[in-house]
């Protein structure tokens, strides 16, 4: 690709993000607020849905005093980080789940006919604000545990507390985008993608010490779930890793997030190329 071409693309991307998507998203939001009561009920339902998992954790702790070497309050912190990240990811890229529908109805072709990238178009095609309920539930738990836990607050830890849920959301989003891109290859890719999406919600809510060694390795190095909540939680708590992994990992979620985005982008691009090569 010629250099000028490339510069053009970057400029286009910038202008695109700067002007179009906020308008598209705003139009989506407006249409949802048209029915305020049903919207409010949806938010509450999502809030409750997310909170039930917290209850599960609390019930478990009525039987045991520690889980994988972590106290109830510490596991709740991990849960809070994971739930906030999940909620934010769900809010921003949850629409990627609908890819099979867009492909089947031919709406994906319509996206290819617009002078915009397919992924941003798909993500902005519907922004389900009801998912704010999930974010609220996660954020509530996170703030509560940050306040009640005896955390030795340093500037670095404060930064970590703010950045970790965001980086976690980016990591989860990338995982889902990559997982849902299988629909470009498989007609029935939805099942696989859902297992990644909802599996990631469950598995990142607990300390990875409760998993077997293989699952742990996968979550650290292949599918970076451990960076969503587990490692940042260790950093916040100031605990050395019970598995003896280096402390650096506790601070590297933002870096992992950047790599995850690049990986997901690559998978998506390859998927679109494949789609154009096979057709519906």
């Amino acid at each position: 690709m010629a250099r000028g071409d490339w510069l053009c693309k970057v400029a286009e991307l910038r202008v695109g993000v700067g002007s179009i998507y906020p308008r598209i998203v705003a139009s989506r939001v407006r249409s949802q607020l048209a029915y305020p009561v049903s919207f409010a009920l949806d938010v509450v339902a999502q809030f409750i849905g997310q909170s039930i998992e917290l209850i599960v954790i609390l019930v478990v702790f009525t039987q045991v005093s520690s889980l994988g070497g972590f106290s109830a309050a510490e596991v709740v912190l991990i849960y809070g980080l994971s739930a906030t990240a999940f909620g934010l990811a769900d809010l921003s890229v949850g629409q990627v789940e609908e890819l099979p529908t867009y492909i089947r109805t031919g709406e994906f072709d319509v996206m290819l006919l617009r002078p915009l990238g397919t992924l941003p178009q798909l993500l902005s095609a519907d922004v389900a604000l009801k998912r704010l309920g999930r974010v609220a539930a996660g954020l509530g738990v996170l703030v509560w545990s940050l306040v009640t836990l005896d955390i030795d607050w340093t500037p670095a830890r404060t930064m970590l507390a703010v950045i970790a849920p965001l980086a976690g959301a980016v990591i989860l989003s990338s995982m889902w985008v990559a997982a849902n891109a299988v629909s470009f290859w498989l007609v029935d890719g939805r099942e696989f993608a859902n297992s990644v999406t909802y599996g990631s919600n469950f598995s990142t809510s607990y300390p990875i010490t409760i998993y077997g060694p293989w699952l742990r390795r996968i979550m650290c190095y292949a599918v970076p779930g451990a960076f969503v909540a587990y490692f940042p939680a260790l950093g916040l708590l100031g605990r050395p890793d019970p598995l003896g992994l280096p402390e650096l990992l506790q601070w590297s979620s933002p870096f992992v997030a950047v790599v995850a985005v690049a990986g997901a982008g690559l998978v998506w691009r390859t998927g679109v190329r494949h789609y154009q090569g096979t057709g519906s």
Binding site: R23, S27, T105, V110, L112, Q276
Partner: protein
């Protein structure tokens, strides 16, 4: 040339992983379209029209061959091409179903970065020509098909595309809606601003809009000619359908009539005649002298008939 293709071919793999079959949707399509032309792209279902259009618009990669639209490789420069062409699919929408039509236009114009003043003029003009003022504020999902299609065509023209591709734009529309759309498209094309490429099953669409037709069948170009020439050679027979007041024996021996079919116990007769030998008016006159008529209609040969005639005449 705004469209140029060379031996365009497209295969699909169908079936399950174990029993894969290679199906050729488009086998060999070489066409070129000059700026300002209006070309009808015809063929029976499954002939490869839609697949060809998808290759021209960057949705699908050709298996082999070459396509160039507005001087661009459609797939590699998809986004750039999208700014310069407009595409209307009769069966799927590019509008936002939950937004009022006007808001859909606004978004579309923003996506294509149409300057505000030009956008206003363009919308106002289309609204006037297509008589859309009464439903501009209606959400797209509540529009009738005819209203929606007018919206689709307007959206596709907002960014002043060099080429407008229409895939079955009049499918499912009533006669009035069809006519309105046709006269609008014909006017837009006549101004020389936009090249038209349309697929349709509706011969009147083609007659009204296109000087030239490209007929494809089984993925190959069967005919590429001026419509007039095609009509002369192959138009086939028209059919005069007469509804009678009372049953009569078959109306045989009329000048120019090549075949008579009797339906509804003799109350309806279909007189197939060749347009070169007689005219519909002449034939109606002759029939009216012989029997009492309740109603008459003239059936044009369908695209399928035309293609079939073409096919067997080779």
């Amino acid at each position: 040339m705004i469209i140029e293709t060379e031996a365009l071919r497209r295969d699909f793999l169908v079936g399950t992983r174990l029993r894969r079959r290679r199906v050729t949707a488009v086998e060999d399509v070489t066409v070129s379209v000059a700026r300002g032309e209006a070309v009808g792209f015809l063929g029976p279902n499954g002939a490869g029209k839609s697949t060809t259009i998808k290759m021209l618009t960057g949705v699908l990669v050709p298996t082999s061959g070459r396509a160039s639209v507005c001087g661009l490789d459609p797939v590699r420069r998809r986004r750039e091409l999208a700014r310069r062409i407009g595409v209307v699919f009769g069966q799927r929408s590019q509008l936002w179903w939950d937004l009022p039509l006007r808001d859909s236009f606004d978004l579309h114009a923003a996506i294509h970065r149409v300057p505000a003043t030009r956008y206003r003029d363009r919308v106002d003009e289309c609204v006037a020509l297509l008589d859309m003022a009464s439903f501009l504020g209606t959400p797209v999902r509540q529009l009738s098909l005819g209203q929606r299609m007018r919206g689709e065509v307007t959206a596709a023209l907002l960014h002043a595309p060099e080429l407008l591709v229409l895939d079955e734009p009049t499918i499912g529309l009533d006669l009035t809606s069809k006519e309105r759309l046709r006269s609008f498209l014909s006017e837009v094309n006549a101004r020389g601003e936009v090249t038209l490429l349309l697929t349709t099953h509706d011969l009147p669409d083609v007659e009204r809009l296109c000087r030239r037709v490209v007929v494809i069948d089984q993925g190959r170009v069967l005919v590429d000619d001026e419509l007039a020439a095609l009509r002369q050679g192959f138009a086939g027979h028209r059919v005069l359908v007469v509804e009678l007041v009372e049953p009569v024996p078959p109306l045989l021996g009329l000048g120019g009539v090549v075949d008579v079919t009797v339906e509804a116990q003799g109350l309806r007769q279909r007189l197939e005649f060749s347009p070169g030998a007689t005219t519909a008016a002449e034939l109606i006159g002759t029939v009216a002298q012989q029997v009492a008529l309740r109603d008459v209609s003239v059936v044009e040969p369908s695209i399928e008939d035309l293609v079939r005639t073409l096919y067997y005449s080779r």
